[in-house]
Amino acid sequence: MSSWINENGPLLFLALLDGTVTAFVLALIALGLSLVFGVMRIVNIAHGEFFMLGAVFSWFAFDLTDDPLWGFLLALVLAPALVGGIAVFSDRFILRKIKYHPESTIVATIGLLYVIQSLTLIVFGPEARAVEAPLYFRIQFPWFGYSGYKLIVAGMSALGLLGVWLLMIRSKLGLYMRATQQDLEIAKTYGVPTKKIYAAVFALGGGLAALAGVLVVPIRQADHLMGLEPLLLSFIVVIIGGLGSIRGTIVAAFIIGISDGIISVFYEPTLAKMLATLFVAMVLVLKPSGLYGEEVA
């Protein structure tokens, strides 16, 4: 046993460390998807592209200022705002037009995905572009080193999550959102401006994804195809957590993030991904409500 610890202790520790960082970022992205589903009852396939846009914008900010810190701060403010704007636009001119019909929305957002992706390819180009971390240091553990910035990312994601939570329980917007989520019709009768709320929620969802993009881009880099993987992952998270349940989403993000870390350290990664996807499908089949959410069917 102790020999096993000596052998695999570092692996386990790293898996946990890395998994936690992944989990925080994942939670941020998935939360966006979850809010949108919870309040608007739609699945946004283009969510991953919002994340990608966040990363891309923050490269432009970095390129513009040519200074990691200022570029980062600029992106931190601008990227979510811009992406939020794009979200509002697509809500107003696409989603509202199709009355948020679930299947139609999926088709429309697939279209949105293609449009955003190829426009990015035109403007930004095909290559992956690196962005320097705003502040960078390396932490040396007995067995290996680790990026300090990754820990900062985890921290800032945590702040983001906290922010959303406060928004939900403290602000009027949050109240309206919860009301709309409870029952659209009743919310309307109580004079909740549901159209505005929908726009706001879609913007918030996109903004969160973009924020995650900004935080992550110094760890990995920006490229126009980076959206698909986080999309699938946050699907997994949102489903396991229960569609529409914020608490579930965050819990699930940690389950997935950390287990993914551990599984792919101890098993073949491709196999791990395969089993994980299958597992999610089965969860949805056998417990459609997920951990916390309500039935979607």
Binding site: V43, I94, K97, I98, P102, E103, S104, I106, V107, A108, I110, G111, L112, L113, Y114, V115, I116, Q117, S118, L119, L121, I122, L228, L232, F235, I236, I239, L243, E268, T270, L271, K273, M274, T277, L278, V280, A281, M282, L284, V285, L286, P288, V296, A297
Partner: protein, 320 residues
């Protein structure tokens, strides 16, 4: 009343198929082969439409069925040295099993959950092709050119990739699919499927066990997609993961909706138009995806019923 529309629609489809048959003698080489490809892909779309258009279930994992048929046929030929027909049957049988298993699980969900479950199963299948690459040749895929026997008609040998063989096999497949779906749509079963699409719970309360009918639709749709995949492998002699990727699940949605979900012939038009759109656009700009995306959005906003759907609503009431 139904009899009349059945005859009309059979005549209408017959006309189009006849046109396709004649076209092969006038089309220039490139379009000749494009149309053969379109007919195979359209068959896939017709199969997909069976689920989306008539039963009202939207799947994001149909590439799994197409690829299952394609790989079963391809690997069957490669390892078991199956004949072309054998491969086709093997592909059909394999997809039948896959879609049955898949249906038993997936149909416990509905709506958005169903959509995501299908997506996830599709991804799993795709990843498993990559994972078992020693056996499936992974991402590169493989060519059947060297392993596929020859087709003998009146003791004359043809390659399956021979343009005329290809064109007419594709045409036969398409004809079969159109005929079968038309007949089903005019049968009591078709009536029930449409009822499920329109109002599932009411159908249940008319005494129908909705689950079994949905399972039937899914297995039929899946198996037909698989046969289309197997046929694609035979006629175009390449088997690869690109046919299992999510994009290949999205395509039939696009084709079906553009042509008109819930119309038998619609998917054919949808496929043809999209194919040539991409073909032409990619000649002009390198960003045909942009156009595809735009089409998707505009269509779902302005044209939710697709081409034939709109036509039916306006003029061709009898269209199945």
């Amino acid at each position: 009343m139904r009899k009349k529309s059945l005859i009309y629609s059979l005549l209408f489809q017959g006309g189009i198929l006849l046109l396709l048959f004649i076209l092969q003698f006038i089309l220039p080489t490139y379009h000749h082969s494009s149309v053969s490809k379109i007919m195979v892909l359209a068959s896939y779309a017709v199969a997909y439409n069976f689920l989306l258009g008539y039963t009202g279930l939207m799947s994001l994992g149909h590439a799994m069925f197409f690829a299952a048929g394609m790989y079963a046929a391809g690997l069957g030929i490669y390892y078991l040295e199956l004949s072309a027909l054998g491969a086709l049957l093997f592909g059909a049988a394999f997809t039948l099993v896959i879609s049955l298993l898949f249906g038993l699980f997936a149909l416990r969900t509905s709506g958005v959950s169903f959509l995501i479950v299908t997506l996830m199963f599709g991804q799993t299948f795709y990843l498993s092709i990559l994972y078992f690459n020693e056996f499936t040749f992974g991402q590169d895929g493989f060519s059947l050119a060297k392993h596929l026997g020859k087709l003998v008609i009146f003791n004359k040998e043809y390659l399956y990739s021979n343009p005329d063989v290809r064109y007419n096999f594709a045409l036969i497949l398409l004809t079969a699919y159109l005929l079968i779906s038309t007949l089903i749509m005019f049968s009591p079963v078709g009536r029930i499927l449409i009822a499920i699409r329109e109002n599932e719970s009411r159908t249940q309360l008319l005494g129908y066990n909705v689950y079994y009918y949905k399972l039937f639709a899914l297995v039929l749709s899946g198996t037909f997609s698989g046969i289309a995949g197997a046929m694609h492998a035979l006629l175009f002699t390449y088997v690869g993961t690109t046919f299992a990727e999510i994009h290949h699940s999205i395509s039939p949605i696009l084709w079906t909706l553009l042509g008109g979900a819930g119309t038998v012939i619609g998917p054919l038009f949808g496929t043809g138009i999209m194919y040539y759109l991409v073909d032409i656009i990619s000649g002009i700009t390198s960003n045909y995806q942009l156009v595809v995306g735009a089409v998707l959005i505009l269509m779902i906003i302005w044209f939710p019923m697709g081409i034939m759907g709109t036509l039916r609503q306006k003029w061709m009431k009898w269209l199945p």
